[in-house]
């Protein structure tokens, strides 16, 4: 997604990217980034918290207009929970990131992609 933001921006469309993986987005380097320190899944606010979602989107629109230099990150002022233990559990043996079925699909897709690439279809 960061690569897409960069491409749009390089071709004259100002962008703002919402995300929860700060290190990955900033490693790639995007023009404008709204970071929520949340689990992967809800870059535009907590589920069913309409006020928060509206405020997060609003921050992004403000950033679109106000950013005067590339690489600007705005951190939303929200905490996922008082308990931060979810951060320790991410990508741990106790909590496999993908369930077995999704892992199987992921591996099959990789093979399909290799095959398509090999035939020049992609």
């Amino acid at each position: 997604m960061s690569l897409a933001a960069r491409h749009l921006e390089a071709n004259g469309i100002p962008t703002v990217l919402f995300g929860c993986a700060r290190d990955i987005v900033e490693h790639c380097a995007v023009p404008r980034f709204v970071f929520s320190d949340f689990p992967l899944g809800n870059p535009t606010g907590k589920p069913y918290d309409l006020d928060m979602q509206r405020a997060v989107l609003s921050l992004g629109l403000d950033l679109l207009v106000s950013a005067s230099a590339p690489g600007t990150t705005v951190v939303t002022p929200y905490e996922w929970s008082a308990d931060h233990s979810w951060k320790d559990k991410v990508f741990s043996k106790a909590q496999p990131f993908l369930d077995p079925e999704a892992t199987k699909t992921w591996l099959e897709r990789k093979e399909t992609y290799r095959a398509l690439k090999g035939t020049g279809t992609l």
Partner: protein, 168 residues
């Protein structure tokens, strides 16, 4: 409390360790650039209240009323209308923190309802007639040479002024 709990998650380090432990060998090289492209908002030449906003999501979203077909093996960018009520949409994405949260509320990762509210309130001018869905790809080459140009093409067709991208 570990050091990690007082700051954001280091996904690059975490995924490297995780997949090496799973036996996947060579670590993924995350995209990295020193330069950052930048189009100042002023170059758009109109106020945000006059701008048409494009929207991109990685949520692999689908319509509830559509027949479940087989997934496109090429995993190309596709688009859906932005005027669909969010309760007619659902995410098929498997890669998110399924232990800590859910993708049940579309507006928490694809803010269509709130964009429409902002139109009604005059904060933005319009939203593009369709939003784009891009897959999170292993291949940066595909994202750069196939997917991103397709999104740009569709946004130009839709006369998009500014773009909002939300990464699940």
């Amino acid at each position: 409390m570990s050091e990690e709990t007082v700051s954001h998650v280091r996904y690059i380090d975490k995924t490297r360790a995780y997949y090496q432990a799973e036996g996947y060998g060579k670590s993924y090289e995350w995209a990295h650039f020193e330069d950052i492209p930048f189009t100042p908002f002023a170059s758009v030449g109109r106020a945000l209240s006059q701008c048409r906003v494009g929207v991109v999501t990685t949520s692999e979203i689908a319509r509830r009323d559509a027949e479940a077909g087989s997934d496109d093996p090429r995993r190309l960018v596709y688009s859906l209308p932005t005027d669909l009520p969010v309760d007619q949409l659902y995410s098929k994405k498997a890669s998110y923190d399924r232990y800590a949260t859910s993708l049940d509320d579309v507006d928490s990762y694809l803010p269509l309802t709130h964009l429409h509210s902002f139109i009604a309130e005059g904060r933005i001018g319009a939203v593009a007639p369709r939003f784009q869905v891009i897959y999170s790809e292993y291949s940066q080459r595909k994202t750069l040479t196939v997917d991103a140009p397709e999104i740009l093409k569709q946004m130009r067709e839709d006369r998009v002024d500014v773009a909002v991208l939300a990464a699940v």
